[in-house]
């Protein structure tokens, strides 16, 4: 463990990724303290106020206002809350579902494995974006729909990799030893095999959080995410796109937030892979 900690601190990607994710978490938690305005507060007399680097700005709206005179900076800050919620909840639940099915499929084999593998095949026959868009439309707009769409679409990522990993672990000596001393199968799966998958799962989970932020943005962009006045980064992009010729920053700012967040989760995931995977480390 000490070695892993040492390696993590020496790994530039882990450091960068962790810094970005911590910053996101800090902004999300402290949103009411950081935001200069209520993100929903409208001031129609002050709509399209430009950001600080342009002429004719209003000092209390650092990054300007949108079409309804809402403070863009405050909306971006509150957007971090929604991004973090979706990343944590959706990725964790997708991981739980996919891991559970992958464990069962890989360890018990037989008909169960055939059925689950078939299901994964069917799932992988749909373009993920199209599937989540259709799902979100079916479930109805809202944060829950977004989270559900991510879980239902992305569990296969975990399932396939966990299954493959269990197939490898199942043949190891320590499992044979556990069988010999008479441990029951659930216990072997839970206590012996699962802990060996933790590094892989941690990496996948981190990467999935980045994916979740993107999917939320995509669904907002298509108009299927949270209610339109809620400040999501994807929604802000979609709104900014309408005024792209007059106020390009309205789209650029939320895009910068998403790109930074996604790069952060990716760097953390890739870095953890380097640190945790002994094969890659060598």
């Amino acid at each position: 463990m000490a070695e892993v900690r040492h390696l993590s601190l020496g790994n530039g990607r882990v450091l960068f990724g962790a810094a970005v994710v911590l910053l996101l978490a800090a902004v999300a938690f402290a949103a009411p303290l950081l935001a200069p305005h209520d993100p929903l507060e409208q001031d129609l007399l002050l709509s399209f106020s430009p950001p600080f680097w342009r002429n004719g700005t209003d000092a209390s709206y650092l990054l300007g206002t949108d079409s309804l005179g809402r403070d863009i900076l405050s909306r971006l800050i509150y957007g971090a809350r929604i991004a973090l919620t979706v990343a944590l909840v959706a990725a964790t639940l997708a991981a739980l579902l996919g891991t559970a099915l992958g464990l069962l499929s890989g360890y018990f084999g037989g008909y169960l494995d055939a059925a689950i593998s078939r299901l994964v095949d069917v799932w992988m026959s749909f373009p993920p974006v199209l599937l989540s868009v259709v799902l979100a439309a079916v479930v109805g707009a809202g944060l829950k729909a977004v989270i559900l769409a991510i879980i239902v679409v992305d569990w296969t990522r975990f399932c396939r990799i966990v299954r493959a990993e269990v197939l490898v672990q199942r043949e190891q000596d320590y499992v044979a030893a556990a069988v010999t001393i008479g441990l029951n199968r659930w216990r072997i799966l839970w206590v012996e095999i699962l802990p060996n998958l933790v590094p892989t799962l941690l990496v996948l989970l981190t990467l999935e959080m980045g994916v979740a932020v993107i999917v939320e943005a995509i669904l907002s962009f298509v108009g299927l995410s949270v209610a339109s006045d809620a400040p999501t980064w994807g929604g802000l992009i979609q709104e900014g796109r309408l005024y792209i010729n007059q106020a390009w920053w309205m789209m650029a700012l939320p895009m910068a937030c998403i790109i930074t967040t996604v790069l952060g989760f990716n760097a953390l995931g890739d870095g953890l892979r380097e640190v945790l995977d002994p094969v890659l480390r060598r």
């Binding site: 078939r118 749909f126 373009p127 974006v129 199209l130 439309a137 079916v138 010729n245 895009m255 996604v262």
Partner: protein, 335 residues
């Protein structure tokens, strides 16, 4: 390739297709908001609504509906789009070539550039080109095509307007094309002004789609080449004094191709899926754009036909990849 392998692989696609059909049906029959509700003007009479429901078979038990639906789908009867009031099959067939043209162009670009970058990184190993390729690959893979597309719209369409960001062709040039493959057709007819307009519209969506795949190809080829370069036959070629350029292209490249081709195939499926959003962003008239429009309009017949079309394309694509892989790698063929 032995017939047995081909047959087995083809048969495996059948249950997948059936599963896809079930998922599509189940998914769409739980759509809240009756699709009929959209078609009727406000204040329509109950009896008229009932007649419409009966017309679309929405008043029958769900299993009966599934039976009818499956029979229709299997015989290619997809009905008419509710929002566009046109036969669904015609709509899809007229839009599909645009999507295929975009996806294939992006695929070719990604493969060509990816191979060049992978070889360059190997040739100048340990020097700045390798670091540049690694940096590019990391960035291009982390950011999805959807965000690349938006960045291009912003940077090259608005801030520095050098390329068109909407549509497939300058509307003034829209001639009567015999096929949906405008690009190919315009070249064959020698109408190069049309070709130029098509290409200028194609560049941004194509590059946005191609970037993640380019990076993936470069990265896999690089690591496969690295492995191949350590093999005995390469050492032998070196000892005989062949130039490094020749060693990479003539000796190592062929062996590095198998993993690269496999990856390109798998990634091509992602790229095809990516057209859904990219077409939306660039108002490109393909089936991806059609799909999003159908979802927003809750156009049930059109949604199911588009989703099924994508699924069949994906399954067919996977078949082709497996076949190619088996052709390239005898161990799989005889396994």
């Amino acid at each position: 390739m032995p017939l047995a392998y081909l047959t087995k692989r083809l048969l495996m696609a059948v249950p997948t297709l059936f599963g896809v059909a079930i998922v599509v049906f189940v998914l769409l029959r739980v759509v809240p908001g009756d699709p009929i509700a959209m078609m009727i003007p406000p204040g329509a009479r109950e009896a008229d609504i009932g007649r419409l429901r009966a017309l679309y078979g929405l008043d029958q038990p769900i299993l009966v509906q599934f039976g009818h639906w499956l029979a229709d789908v299997a015989s290619g009867k997809f009905g008419s789009s509710i929002s566009l009031r046109q036969p669904v099959v015609g709509l899809i067939l007229s839009r599909l070539p645009a999507t295929l043209e975009l996806a294939l162009a992006a695929m070719m670009l990604a493969t060509a550039v990816g191979i060049l970058l992978g070889v360059a990184a190997t040739f100048w190993r340990g020097r700045w080109p390798e670091a540049a390729v690694d940096g590019f690959a990391g960035l291009a893979m982390a950011i999805p095509d959807f965000l690349w597309g938006l960045m291009f719209v912003l940077a090259l369409g608005v801030l520095l307007p050098v390329l068109p960001i909407s549509g497939r062709i300058d509307p003034r040039l829209e001639t009567n094309f015999a096929t949906g493959f405008y690009l190919l057709e315009s070249v064959l007819r020698g109408e190069f002004r049309v070709t130029a307009s098509l290409l200028s519209h194609l560049v941004l969506p194509m590059v946005a789609l191609a970037l993640p795949l380019t990076a993936a190809v470069a990265r896999v080829l690089k690591s496969a080449l690295k492995e191949a370069m350590a093999q005995d036959y390469v050492l032998m070629a070196r000892a005989r004094g062949f130039s490094p350029w020749r060693i990479i292209w003539r000796e190592a490249f062929r062996n590095a191709l198998v993993p690269t081709v496999t990856l390109s195939g798998v990634q091509f499926a992602f790229l095809l899926g990516g057209t859904v959003l990219i077409e939306r962003i660039f108002s490109y008239p393909g089936i991806g754009n059609l799909a999003i429009g159908a979802v927003i309009d809750r156009d049930l017949p059109l949604i199911q036909a588009v989703v099924l079309t994508f699924a069949v394309l994906f399954i067919a694509l996977n078949l082709v990849i497996d076949m190619t892989y088996a052709l390239l790698n005898p161990r799989i063929r005889h396994g």
